[in-house]
Symmetry: C2
Amino acid sequence: MSGLDRSLIAALPPFAGAGPAQLDAVLDEARSVYRARGSSLYEQDKPADSFFVLLHGRLRVTRLTPDGRQVVVRFAGPGELVGVAVALGRDTYPATAAAAVDSVALAWPSARWPQMLGLLPALAGAALQAAGARLHDAHSRIVELSTEQVERRVANALVRLSETTGRRVEQGILIDFPISRQDVAEATGTTLHNVSRILSAWEERGWVKGGRQRIVICEPHRLMSLGEGYPANRG
Amino acid sequence: MSGLDRSLIAALPPFAGAGPAQLDAVLDEARSVYRARGSSLYEQDKPADSFFVLLHGRLRVTRLTPDGRQVVVRFAGPGELVGVAVALGRDTYPATAAAAVDSVALAWPSARWPQMLGLLPALAGAALQAAGARLHDAHSRIVELSTEQVERRVANALVRLSETTGRRVEQGILIDFPISRQDVAEATGTTLHNVSRILSAWEERGWVKGGRQRIVICEPHRLMSLGEGYPANRG
DNA sequence: CGGATACTTGAGCAATATCAACCGACGTGG
DNA sequence: CCACGTCGGTTGATATTGCTCAAGTATCCG
């Protein structure tokens, strides 16, 4: 008994349909880990000895190129499986996951993955679906990077972020974790400078409101139509 | 009994470890389909009513953007699972798969996927691994598109193609299916014109040998070092 | 208050897309 | 079997996006 409560995970997609006994058995193997903002949960190219379910917080998952450039692969939120390298047949992590805000996750030893599949027959399906969704996202980004120009990519990225992590505030929709221009640049395949210029231009039109590591989207539909290719003429 | 022989699939990764009885049961539900060069096996946004294992040939899997631009998502070869939208939790195909050469595949109704998982316990793992490998590839391409310039991307794409589909010929390694400059452009996120110019430049140096829908790589190590960032100075 | 970190902005330039024209190979039908 | 049409490819000129370099300004935190 590790002192973790079933209610922590019962409602999460990966554990859907599991009974109390299974949940307890699963939790029995789990260890809960805390990461302060900025520290990393796992690191690229290190042995993938654990996999995780994020309970609380937000992770910025990045990959580093041989020549030292960083690319944001995705942002992960509560309830998501992360670091499931084993399940995907790898023995090292393909990316680094850093806490964008103070975060809590459950961790299991990678070696336990097969047993967990036995314990939770639905887990394989859930993992496949999660992998499918990520694959679909990745392909969408490839298409975007291949065909769209920077301003449209930034617009799309912000719209997606506002959908998954947005919080309604007075002036619009706030992207609810500290995100720098650099982060946006690394997520859209451009430079800090371009993102800054683009956001400044939008802010001038009242479409967004910026701040230090802070973005509020005031006119979401403007960004959406921009992302769909309608030119950014004033209006 | 559909008249298909176990030996067709026994050696393929998705069916690894299955016994003769299982293989027969699986084949019993399968239908074999033939696609002439240029015709499509499944189409983007259509209901995903079948999934496939490619037995022979090569597929060009593409995605079309709303504004009509095409992007090559991947090339698939013999033994690969394709069109597994169901497994990934989708009910339409996310892309179009066209035969790059005359091709043969086995097809199962999507509705049979759950039963097949029951019949072949290893299939879920194989599918997860395949999805993981594709996810990894997709992320690599995102990183590439985000950070590398066109010439390097083209070099990397050709190296990868030569590794997966290359055939040793007198002058070097031939990419063993008809591939146009346009295809390469759509696979690397650039234009036909740039690819043509780049290949012409390389041909001048004797690194590749081009032809109509034909590419032979004469000096693979040159392209590899180019792809890893060493400048394309003569040598 | 001082250092560090994030952000802004401008100028110049390189990479790459676009536009335009042309060439040549393949294959099909007369 | 040849002529011609189509498709794939080449090449040049031009336009433009977006990157790099270079300061300089806010904001946060200890």
